[in-house]
């Protein structure tokens, strides 16, 4: 690699032009409008088909999260955040973790072990397979989708100034 510096590229700065910098682009918006339903469906396909083919909840959840990101890129983060309310993201992430634990804990309530899927078959006649599907679809996928989109919104919003919350009220 030569020492010639590729410095002629446009100076890219982002400190000042934060949220107002969004520019509508008809091309991107209409392309995303076409693609987003497909990628969302594909995410769900991976998620539910993981038991029989490569892929699974982690990948599926990531694709679903990426779809949200795609929409946010095309239509602007603020409007996406309004559409997908913060509550949804929290419920996905925290709810997913809680659901995963719950699927594991229910057998323990009956004295079986944590995540003992065959217990569901013995006690309720639910096939073992559905236990596996449950932690994948109810646990991992929502966490991944929620955290991916949540991270996106949080990072886009940036840090709060430090002084605001370290107040001495109690």
């Amino acid at each position: 690699m030569s020492d010639r510096q590729p410095n002629e590229k446009p100076v890219v700065r982002g400190a000042d032009g934060s949220e107002s910098a969004y520019v509508e682009s008809q091309v991107i918006m209409s392309t995303v409008r076409v693609i987003a339903p497909f990628s969302l469906t594909y995410g769900f396909f991976l998620l539910f088909h993981g038991a029989d083919s490569p892929g699974g909840s982690f990948q599926g959840g990531a694709i679903i999260g990426a779809t949200v990101l795609m929409i946010a890129f095309a239509f602007g983060i603020e409007s996406t955040r309004n559409w997908l309310r913060n509550r949804t993201v929290v419920v996905l992430a925290a709810g997913g973790a809680a659901m995963f634990a719950l699927v594991g804990l229910i057998p323990m309530a009956y004295g079986a072990n944590f995540l003992e899927h065959p217990f569901y078959h013995e006690q309720f006649g639910i096939k073992t397979k559905w236990g596996l599907e449950a932690i994948e679809a109810l646990g991992v996928a929502p966490i991944v989708a929620g955290v991916v989109s949540g991270l996106f919104f949080v990072i886009a919003a940036g840090a709060l100034p430090a002084t605001e919350e370290v107040s001495e009220d109690d």
Binding site: K129, E136, I143, V147
Partner: protein, 181 residues
Amino acid sequence: MVSAFGIALFGFVLATALATALLRDILAVIIVFAAYSLGMALFYAFLLAPDVAMTEAAIGAGVTTLLLLLTIATTVREEPGIAIERPNLPALVVFGGLLVVMIGTVTQFPALGSRNAPVWSNPEVTQYYLEHSYKDTKVHNAVTAVLAGYRGFDTFGEAVVVFAAGISTLVVLGREVFTRE
């Protein structure tokens, strides 16, 4: 032909990894890193680990790139004065040491795809999975059976790792984002 493909792919991954480490301009590094992810996903696919390849494709190439871009968009980015990072001596020494150890030990590895490798031949773990996973779970993909069944607790832990990453980001950025609606 298999080895020719492997060597070409390896060359590409090595080039992208070096470029990621050495380029100075952050935006360029992010783009190069995405290319590295592409190469790694191809590698996993080539080694017949489609689940890992898909994860690398979805997370490494897709989500990570976007989050990194977003991060440099919301922070101040300085113009690098130089194009190529000048590696510093202690780092090179550590790197060299690690390289020697890795190359020295890699020669001891069982051959790729060897049926005698303990990882494969161990009758009480891997072979057990292959024999019993369908009987136990009625799931065709043995990887899913291991991930959600036999080693389900690891998956629980990894899901919590993802959750913890989200929480940590909230804590670091001081956001109670979700209480204001």
